[in-house]
Subunit: 281 residues, 2 copies
């Protein structure tokens, strides 16, 4: 997190989910003007209540032009990016012009790609801000939130999961793992947290009655948090519940919670704990 | 691998796949009498051409009795174990008697479980031999086999995969990973290699025409190879081909190849390489 003063105007490049909207609302509350560049096929339609322009992912020229037209030097790039259909991204001249950079983005892990996205925007004269700089209330706090508390077994699973994520960091992979009673059930690589959780249901020993195991989610050390902060939300809780897990542990201050009230409500209803942990666990 | 002399009689506890049969055949060729304890719902019916007795997984007493009746001091426990339906394992008195041991097996990672299985049989007076001690030709040799050769990009992916598997070893997880152009696509935990390969197809960047990426498979350091040697076979090659991978790298001498001729034939037909690598890659 930086100590930079807040800008007077903020460009929000918005992909999917509720977090772009939460960022716009938080900005407005602080007296910051927002201009949204909404990505077609990605951003939620309700983003339209803010001044905006829709662009396709391939309209790199259009995107940069929209941000410049709004005279925003500071940009936030935020929201979940669904895998685009390469034939429908609507390439424009700016895309062609920046093609070498864009092609180079396709190589390497997520982190390498996102660092280059930041560098690209910075190269175009923008200051890239993290969503959490504008909306710090999105960050997971430390300690339990919701009604359930982890027990000793869960704490041991969490410690093992954190150590495992640490071991994976050098390989630019692994934002989350599932550990159940010391046994590593699943490790997330390129498939994403949702798909990883989906397969956990069948990996539990059959006949189990009570909830067992923890989803542990944390950014890699040195991950580019300005554009790639891990997120959990209502869907994560629902999928963890279906997977039979006992709870979710996230790195406090380094993971965002989408729809916090709904997330906690669902966790309570499914008797799952959610715990904000420290790096020093 | 031990330098123990070959036994005159061998008990083969047979689970699924062709490898139990290959072990029986290799034993016979060396003049070793075999007696098969075939696990119901697991072993291939063609195992019946050897002297055998079928037992359910829960018939621990029956299993031990069959081995003792055949007067085999040496046993091989071999084949893929499909997840049993706990209500249909046909518990006998021996199961009840050994219940505390069996229950303790259910905790921990695969490696921990299989070590305890070995210890259980040893505690019952048996010598547990590795399938590869009886049938060393099942082991993957060093170097390429089949017609395709890995290129420099593939070698880099293999080195990254081996390093990643090494990093996972302390967590008793990860027999295989998929790395494509430096990017870790998938890490195997409790789901097994087949399921991991299944999700790789959609993880490739869309629009890719040529084969990219390598499945790297190796035992964990210190893995109990007598009862848990990693295996690839025709199905692995087919799934790797569907996933769009360029090849498969296995730790030579520490991974078994089922149906070697068919495996190589399928690899050649799909233009996949198979490479036996050294720990020192």
């Amino acid at each position: 997190m930086t100590a930079q003063p807040l800008p007077s105007c903020l460009g929000v490049v918005a992909a999917a989910g509720s977090i772009p909207i939460a960022v716009c609302e938080a900005a407005r509350k602080q007296g910051i003007d927002v201009f949204v560049v909404a990505l077609k096929g990605q951003a939620a339609p309700s983003i339209e209540r803010f001044p905006h322009r829709w662009v396709r992912l391939g309209q790199v020229g259009g995107l940069l032009g929209a941000l410049r037209g709004a005279k925003c030097d500071d940009v936030v790039i935020v929201g979940a990016l669904r895998r685009p259909d390469l034939w429908r991204i609507g390439v424009d001249f700016g895309f062609i012009r920046h093609l070498p950079t864009i092609l180079s983005l396709a190589r390497g892990g997520d982190d390498a790609i996102l660092r280059r996205v930041v560098r690209f925007f910075e190269g175009q004269g923008f200051t890239v801000r993290g969503a959490h700089e504008i909306a710090p209330s999105l960050l997971a706090p430390a300690g339990p939130f919701g009604a359930q508390m982890p027990n000793e077994e869960h704490h041991a699973d969490i410690a093992r999961g954190v150590a495992l994520l640490d071991a994976l960091g050098p390989f630019d992979v692994g934002q989350s793992v599932v550990v159940a009673r010391g046994h590593v059930l699943a490790i997330e690589a390129a498939e994403g947290t949702d798909k990883m959780l989906r397969r956990c249901k069948t990996l539990h020993q059959s006949g189990r009655q009570r909830r067992v195991g923890v989803l542990i989610k944390a950014p890699k050390r040195g991950q580019e948090l300005r554009v790639d902060m891990p997120v959990i939300g209502p869907r994560t809780v629902e999928m963890a519940a279906v997977a039979g897990l006992a709870g979710i542990a996230v790195m406090s201050g380094e993971v965002m919670i989408a729809d916090q009230a709904e997330t906690v409500r669902l966790a309570d209803r499914n008797r799952l704990f959610i715990l904000g942990i420290d790096r020093t666990v």
